[in-house]
């Protein structure tokens, strides 16, 4: 009789916690998903900025910069200021809510507009990539992770705003 017993208090506590977690996650699910996606985007933006700061690039980007944008082979100091999420409503094609993300960043040095775009593209790419990795949706998007998907949302990115 003494073997394999469980106390009633323990059962009551578990019986309370588990339904509370299920109800809580159901109620908070949508907000949580969007918050997680924006946090992942912010994280990705910082990763992209770090790549720009180190100026050590994948082969194709490196050779593109070496032939035309030599300035980008030197480290750039970039600070991510904020990530703005704009709700663009329900998208019938994908059956998800569309969110447009805009990164605001600060660059220490003055470089031409299209050079900044190259740095910004890396920030945007990493934002979208990180969202897909967070929600494990890499297989339903393209090589550029554009658009990026979570369970109920799809994300696109606009040009980085340099301030």
């Amino acid at each position: 009789m003494d073997k394999g017993q469980i106390t009633a208090e323990y059962l009551l506590i578990l019986g309370f916690i588990i339904p509370a977690l299920i109800i809580g996650s159901y109620l908070l699910g949508d907000t949580l998903e969007l918050d997680m996606a924006i946090a992942a985007a912010r994280d990705g933006a910082i990763q992209g900025a770090n790549m720009d700061e180190l100026a050590i690039y994948p082969r194709d980007a490196y050779y593109e910069y070496e032939t035309g944008k030599n300035v980008l082979l030197q480290p750039s100091s970039i600070q991510i200021i904020k990530i703005e999420a704009i709700d663009e409503g329900y998208n019938e094609t994908y059956g998800k809510y569309k969110i447009r993300l805009i990164a605001y960043a600060h660059l220490e040095r003055e470089i031409p507009y299209d050079y900044r775009n190259s740095l910004g593209d890396r920030i945007n790419y990493n934002m979208r990539k990180n969202i897909c990795i967070t929600f494990k949706t890499e297989n339903i998007t393209n090589d550029f992770y554009n658009p990026a998907f979570s369970y109920n949302y799809m994300f696109t990115t606009s040009d980085v705003k340099w301030i």
């Binding site: 990763q47 050590i56 690039y57 490196y62 070496e66 082979l73």
Partner: protein
């Protein structure tokens, strides 16, 4: 009979709690592993950037120091466990690590290997090199040779 039952007994409370804890740790570990991979990759990229900038800085110092100036530079055998490649030519120090390429520019100069050949010099990890400023045929030459 009673004594046998009391030996090595786990309560169900403990087993259930342990199971919960195990799942939570597993979940956290799976989340953390991606971050750790990223942190490791960034550390090796930073290592290469620092190494290239240091070497480029030393070449510039030797160049600015005039004929007779000499410095030694030791390359690590790996960067945070990652293999890397490094080479120098008359315009900069170039490196590759984990499939990523980088460059640190130097002041344009005539760069030669230990045989006096003016060409790109591949540097071997784990080797110490001497960077020398020499005067040859009325021109300044930077020679890089293994010690």
């Amino acid at each position: 009979m009673m004594e046998e039952c009391e030996k090595g007994v786990f309560t169900v409370d403990f087993l259930v709690s342990f199971l919960w804890l195990f799942f939570i740790i597993l979940f956290l570990a799976s989340m953390a592993s991606y971050r750790m991979d990223y942190a490791n990759e960034e550390r090796s990229l930073t290592g290469l950037r620092v190494l290239m900038d240091e070497l480029a800085g030393d070449i510039n110092i030797v160049l600015a120091g005039g004929p007779g100036h000499e410095m030694t530079f030791t390359l690590p055998s790996n960067i945070d466990g990652s293999r890397y490649q490094l080479w120098v030519n008359s315009s900069g120090v170039y490196g590759i690590i984990n499939g990523r390429h980088g460059k640190s520019p130097i002041y344009p100069c005539i760069l030669t290997d230990s045989h006096g050949n003016n060409r790109a010099i591949t540097l071997k990890p784990g080797t110490t090199y001497k960077i020398k400023n020499l005067r040859e045929n009325n021109r300044t030459v930077i020679m890089i040779e293994a010690e």
